[in-house]
Structure formats: C-alpha cells, structure tokens
C-alpha cells in the first residue's frame, strides 16, 4: 500500500520518471534498438517500392533471382570465392548507322574472379521496331581473347495489325542454339565432337584451357556483346539486362523461391512493429479499463467479470488462435484482434489488483466523500496512477504478441498478402531448410524476431524496475 503510493509519487512527472529510467543501461539499450528498428522500418517503406512487397508471394516476380543463394559476404570468409549473382542493367551503349541500317550495341563487361562457375546466364532485352524484324547477335570475348558467337538470330516479324512492335526477348544459357554453338567451339578446341546434350555452356565459356572436366575457372574480364541490326530509322533498342546466375546474392541471399530475403526481412520490420505495438496497446487498454471497472465497482460485477477473465485465461491460446484463423480468416487486422483477445486477460488481473489497492488508499475515499462521481474517481483518480504501469506492460506485451504472430505465420496462418518473418520461416520449414543446412534462410528472421522482442523487453524491464520498488536497489 505504501509502496504503491510512493511509486505514484515518484512518477508524478515525466521528468522524474525519465531521470530514474535513464539510470538503467538496459533501458537505454532498448531505446537505442528501438530507434534502429524504426529507422529500418522507415527506410524499408521509403526505399523498397510497395510493389515489391506485394509481389512477395508471386513466384513469377522472382524468376530473375537465383535459387537459394548464399549471402554474398560469405566470400570474405571462405577460400573458394563463389560467383555473385549479377543482374546487370547498365551496358555500354553504342549506336552506329549505315544507310537505313542502325546497329545497336549493348556491351557488358564483367570481372569474373570467382572460384566456381556461374549457374547460368540470361540476357533480356526490350526492342521496338516498325520495319523488318531486326537481326540479333550475342557474342562473348573471354579473358584469353577467344571470341565465341553464342547466337545469331532474327527476331520474330512484326504482327500485321500493329504499327510498332515492342518485343521482349530472353536468351537463356540453356537455349539449344547456344549449347550447339558452344559445343562447336569446344570440339574445335579439343578436337573431339561433343554432343550438345552434354554441354552446359557456362562450364565451357568460363573454363580454363584445356577444357577438361576438372578445369578451373578462367578468371578475368569477360565481355558480352549484344548487337542488334534494325531496318527502320525509328527502331529502338530500349533496354537490356544481363543476368549471370551466381551462388551468392545480396546481403541476405535468397530462398528456395528465389526471393531476395533482404526485402522480406526489411519489410517484416514495420509489419512486426505494427502487430506487436497494436496488439500490446489494444490489449493493455482493454485490460486496464476492464480491470479498473471490475476492481473499483467490486461485488457482484467484479465476480462476474473475473469469472469471464478466468475462462479466457483457461483457454489454450494457440489452438484457439488456429481455430479462429481458420474460421474467420487471417487478415492482419483480424490477427491483431485474435491476439488481443488472448492478450488482455493477464493485464486485466493486474490492473484489477492495482485498482483494488488504490481503492483502499484513503484519498479515493476522501474524494468520494467530497462527492465525486464514480466516473470522476475512475478517470481522474485511479486511471492516471495505473498509466505508468500500462506503459510498462505495453512494452512487455509486445514481444509475446510478436512471438505469437510469428508462431501463427509459421504455421501458415499469417496474412497471405504481407511478408512477415514468421512466414519466411514457414517457407523455410516447408522446404526443409534446416535439414538441408540453408542457414541464411533461417537465422535472420529468427534473430530479427528476437531483437525486436528484446528491444521491448529491455525497455519494459527498465520501466518495470523503475515502477516496481521491490525490484529496485535503493
């Protein structure tokens, strides 16, 4: 009784609270982490186009990315340098004319100094033409000066009904023509005829001479030269893109569905903060109002309200969350609602016991005897005393809300329109990432869940220590 009174006195101003709070290193650390998370969230929203995260569950969007690639920084720690997945979009552009013929050149120069071969390569281009179909030629110059013609072909004719035709073409290293050209090149060099079925062009193109099965990668500068011959003065080569399929990609690598995990992790941050904070705030608000009304009114109403509380407390939470998600849907707002339903119970109990304690303080009786209404007593004389506790319990409820949401998502019951950390782990589990050792798919989401949880745990513990005199050393 005395304790709670002193506590309230101590916190009569925010400054007093802050002075006390900032003594706790753990609290400062919590705030520091929170700021980082907020920065991550803001930069995710600003830097990554909303389209990208909307495409998270659309496999077609991710075809240009490598499958289950390691993060690229892994090369700093290993002796064998793995090829980085390259998506090149800015070629050296050259254009020349001779008569009606225009020649567009897109030249990509890459330094390939890795120890293993690339997975494959893909060349995409976008060309607009009015006249006869353009001629397209793709060749490569190896570091040793050899030039390989990979393909020379005519683009499809312009459909009759169109005035100008915009054609989106893709050349894959696995294309039959390329394989055949490479086979030709190889048989010239080793003097044996090679069946094109046995050819994987990247192992030839990027290999040291002589071309043996155990030949190493030929390191150095490779030049990809794409040449288009067009036959109308308005024809244009719009864009092109060269993808060298690697085994490492970006900061966090990719998953089995070729998605860039960095995007998932970054976008997961605001989603997790939203879910954590909104569930915690709602639950604490409901819990506190419920607890105060129950504790202050007391008697029969209290009895009924606490029995209801008991029942919800006794429901096994996760099974019920699952049932709810299946029966009523799994939109993010609904998930927030479900988690709130199971989140407020404990807080209501604490708020009730605090209300009961505060109710015994003489100033409540004093103000009642002066003639204040019940609402005035609750709003002006009980609620403000519980507010600091509420803030602490919001902080302490966030981690469990985040964990619960992650659990639901992990079971595949998260909002299917959003990337969340739990869903990344769900997919990882689905594709047996753990048993296959795909650690980069598993570690970052878990670490993010833990860091976000810890942030609020730290803040909560510091606040709680300030608020709970028993735990505080004098």
């Amino acid at each position: 009784m005395g304790e709670i009174y002193n506590l309230i006195g101590l916190l009569s101003s925010f400054k007093a609270f802050w002075d006390e709070y900032k003594r706790y290193k753990i609290g400062i650390l919590g705030i520091f982490l929170l700021i980082i998370l907020i920065i991550i969230s803001i930069s995710a929203v600003i830097l990554i186009p909303i389209d990208t995260f909307k495409q998270w569950h659309n496999p077609a969007y991710w075809t240009r990315y490598p499958k289950a690639a390691l993060p690229s920084w892994i090369n700093y720690f290993t002796n064998t340098k793995l090829p980085e997945h390259l998506i090149l979009k800015e070629p050296l552009v050259m254009k020349s004319e001779s008569g009606v013929i225009q020649i567009f050149n897109h030249i990509y120069t890459i330094q390939f100094n890795y120890d293993t071969f690339p997975d494959d390569f893909i060349f995409n281009y976008l060309i607009k033409y009015k006249g006869s179909p353009p001629l397209f030629e793709l060749s490569i110059i190896r570091p040793d000066g050899d030039r390989l013609l990979l393909i020379i072909t005519t683009l499809p004719p312009k459909p009759f009904n169109l005035e100008a035709y915009t054609f989106n073409g893709s050349i894959y290293s696995t294309d039959r023509v390329i394989r055949s050209n490479v086979a030709h090149y190889l048989s010239e060099r080793i003097g044996e005829s090679i069946s094109i079925m046995d050819i994987a062009p990247q192992f030839v193109i990027f290999s040291e001479k002589p071309f043996k099965l155990d030949s190493k990668v030929l390191k150095g500068t490779y030049t990809f030269n794409a040449t288009f011959y067009t036959f109308d003065k308005d024809d244009q080569l719009l864009t092109s893109e060269l993808i060298i399929g690697g085994k490492v990609f970006g900061i966090l690598g990719t998953d089995e569905l070729r998605r860039d995990l960095l995007i998932g992790i970054l976008w997961g941050t605001p989603v997790a903060l939203f879910i954590g904070l909104s569930v915690a705030t709602l639950a604490v608000f409901v819990g506190i109002v419920y607890g105060i009304v129950s504790g202050y009114y007391g008697k029969r109403l209290d009895e009924i309200m606490m029995r209801i509380n008991d029942i919800i407390y006794s429901l096994p939470a996760l099974p019920f969350l699952i049932i709810l998600a299946i029966s009523f849907g799994r939109n993010i707002l609904l998930v927030v609602l479900y988690l709130t339903v199971f989140g407020w119970v404990g807080i209501a109990k604490v708020a009730r016991s605090m209300a009961l304690q505060i109710k015994t303080l003489a100033y409540i009786e004093a103000i009642e005897l002066i003639g204040a209404s019940k609402w005035r007593v609750m709003l002006k004389h009980i609620m403000p005393q519980i507010t600091p506790y509420a803030l602490a319990s919001i902080a302490l409820s966030v981690p469990s809300a985040i964990l619960a949401e992650a659990g639901l998502s992990f079971l595949g019951l998260g909002d299917p329109t959003l990337p969340t950390w739990g869903q990344i782990l769900h997919d990882a589990q689905l594709y047996g990432a753990a048993a296959r050792g795909l650690w980069w798919w598993i570690i970052p989401p878990g670490v993010m869940i833990a860091i976000t949880g810890l942030t609020f745990v730290f803040i909560g513990i510091a606040m709680d220590t300030v608020l709970n005199p028993r735990m505080r050393k004098i």
Partner: protein, 350 residues
C-alpha cells in the same frame, strides 16, 4: 474456510470453466462444422445411390432421381440433427454429453497408427508422447531453474547473476521453434549427431520403438531445456529475491541458522507456492505450445496431430484435442491448488 472446502470449491470452478471452454469451442467451429458435415453427407448419399444399379433403374425421369436424392440427404441430415442450428439445446446437449463420456466420435480423415478412426484412440495414442517430451523438459527445467535461481538470488547483482539474467531474458526472446531449426542445422545437418526428424522411421509396433523414440527425443529435449531453463531461473531468482528481503530471513540469519538452511529451508519453502503453481501450469501449458515445436521436430505427439487436424480440417479431432488440452490444463490448475494448500499453511480463500 478449511482446505477441503477450498478444494471442493476449486473443483466446482474447474467444471464451470470446462463447460464454458467447450461452449466457446463449439461456437467458433460450429458453423464451419455444419457446412462441412452437410456437404460430406450429401456426397456420401449421392455416391451410395449412384452406385447401386437397382435404385438407378427404378427411376426413369432424372428429375425424380434428383428429388429422391434430395429427400435421402434431408433424411440423413435430420437423423443426425443437423437441421437444427449448432446452438440448439438438443445438439449442444448431445455434444456435451458425448464430451463428458469421452465419446469423441469418429475422425473424418485422420487415422491412428493401428488404422482406427476413433478420435479418442487417435488422441490417446499421441498424448503420452507429448507428455513424455514436454513433461520431462518441464521437470528438468524446473530443477535446473530452482537450483540456479536460488544460487543467483543469493548473489543478486553479481556478475554471475547479471550473466544468468541476461541469458534468461535473451533466450526467452527467441521463438522456441526457431531455436529448434537452428539446433537441427547444427546437430543434425552439420555434425550429424541426431536425426533431423524426431519421428522414428520404424513402426510403433516394433519392439525397439520406445528406444528409437528416446533417441529421437534428445534433440528436442535439449532445445526445450536450452530455451526454457533461463526463464525458470529468472523467475525463481525474482521470487527468491523478494523472499530474501523479508524480515523473517533477517531474523533467521540473526538466530544463527546456517545459510544453506536459510536458502533451501526458509526462503525456498516460502517461495514454494508460486513456484509449484508455475510448474503445474507450465507443464500443462506446454501442451498448447507443443503444436509448433512438434511441427519443427516432427515429433508424433498431440501438437503435430493438432496441426494435421487443422490442415485437413478434421473437426472432430480438433474439438477432441481442444477438450483434452483444456481438461489437462484445468486438472493441473487443480493440482496446483492442492499443492499450494500443502505448501502454504495460510491458504484460506474466501
């Protein structure tokens, strides 16, 4: 109020909560259950009619056949009482009566290892495995937690205390199932010490099955302890620190009571009621949380069963499981109450 009275009133309370839980479960899954049930009856009836040639021949006009089918479906639905809504007293009573008598009905799709579709059998097959894993973990966790918690409570503020508290807080922030995945990477993928899937490959009828089960249990068990004991230690530490500040501890020190006796006698004995409650609650609470953990390790307990039931929407199994989980939970609460009254002579609840 005496102890026996206290326990009886707790028991009555337990029954009340149990019924409320059943009602809520039925209310949530009821409507879904009805549509699914009706559709499957329709399909069944149609199939049986379309299969028997005699009946088919009897109808010349397809319209008559259609009407006949509709009639049969309606009869079947009525005979099951599905024409009434789920909240009608008759249906509620049937469900509740069945639950009380532990007649949990037949599953839609899931089968036990012996091939039975009886929900009770399916659950009773899985339950001991979950209890084996999670109760063992809870017991080990609580033992480690109590011993460690007492030690660091005595040295509160020391480096070991700070280290242990930090470990507790940090370990509690990681999802258990995530740590499970990491453990699989380390111990099953990298070092190949334990199998990655916790379900033994040999059938349950094999005499070596229990041994295999225990071998497969080690990795999940280590995970549960690694993640669990920190929290236990921290809670025990906090309770103990509170108790150690009490005047009667100072008195005990003054009287010359040896420190060991103070810690493990006076202090721990006073701290026992909340700790006992915690043991009882968490050993049953883990049944609910087992769903994800069992999914990660592929442990053949009720968690995975629940998960399977949810994935194929096997409603009788879902209801049965919810019911059994709640019963187990409430029984543990009740046991916690009994133990509380044993350990705390003050127990008097009005």
């Amino acid at each position: 109020m005496g102890v026996s009275k206290f326990l009886i009133s707790r028991a009555l309370n337990m029954v009340l909560v149990l019924f409320a839980t059943i009602f809520i479960t039925i209310a949530i899954v009821g409507p879904t259950m009805d549509t699914i049930l009706k559709r499957s009856i329709e399909i069944e009836v149609k199939a049986s009619i379309l299969q028997s040639k005699e009946v088919m021949i009897a109808f010349k006009d397809p319209k008559d056949l259609e009407n006949y089918i509709q009639l049969q479906v309606r009869n079947a639905i009525e005979s099951l009482g599905l024409n009434e809504p789920w909240y009608s007293p008759r249906r509620l009573w049937t469900v509740i009566w069945k639950l009380i008598t532990l007649d949990l009905g037949q599953s839609y799709y899931l089968r036990s290892y012996s091939g039975s579709g009886n929900v009770r059998e399916i659950i009773l097959e899985a339950l001991p495995r979950t209890i084996l894993l999670f109760t063992t973990a809870t017991i080990l966790n609580s033992i480690i937690g109590i011993l460690l918690g007492v030690i660091i409570a005595r040295k509160s503020g020391s480096i070991i205390d700070k280290f242990a508290s930090t470990f507790a807080v940090v370990s509690n922030s990681f999802p258990l199932w995530w740590v499970g995945m990491i453990m699989i990477i380390i111990f099953a993928y990298t070092f190949k010490l334990f199998p990655a899937r916790a379900t033994p490959l040999i059938p349950p009828s094999d005499p070596n099955y229990p041994l295999a089960l225990i071998h497969h249990m080690i990795l999940p068990l280590i995970t549960l302890i690694l993640i669990g004991f920190g929290g236990w230690t921290y809670v025990v530490r906090n309770i103990m620190i509170g108790v150690l500040q009490e005047d009667y501890i100072t008195v005990a020190v003054a009287k010359g009571t040896p420190e060991r006796k103070i810690l493990y006698g006076h202090a721990l004995r006073s701290a026992a009621p909340p700790i006992i409650t915690m043991i009882a609650l968490s050993s049953s609470g883990s049944l609910g949380g087992a769903i994800i953990t069992e999914a990660v390790f592929d442990w053949p307990g009720i968690g995975r069963l629940y998960w399977n039931a949810v994935s194929v929407l096997d409603i009788p199994v879902i209801i049965g499981l919810t019911y059994i989980t709640t019963i187990v939970f409430l029984i543990s609460v009740f046991i916690a109450d009994i133990l509380y009254s044993v350990f705390d002579p003050r127990v008097k609840v009005g």
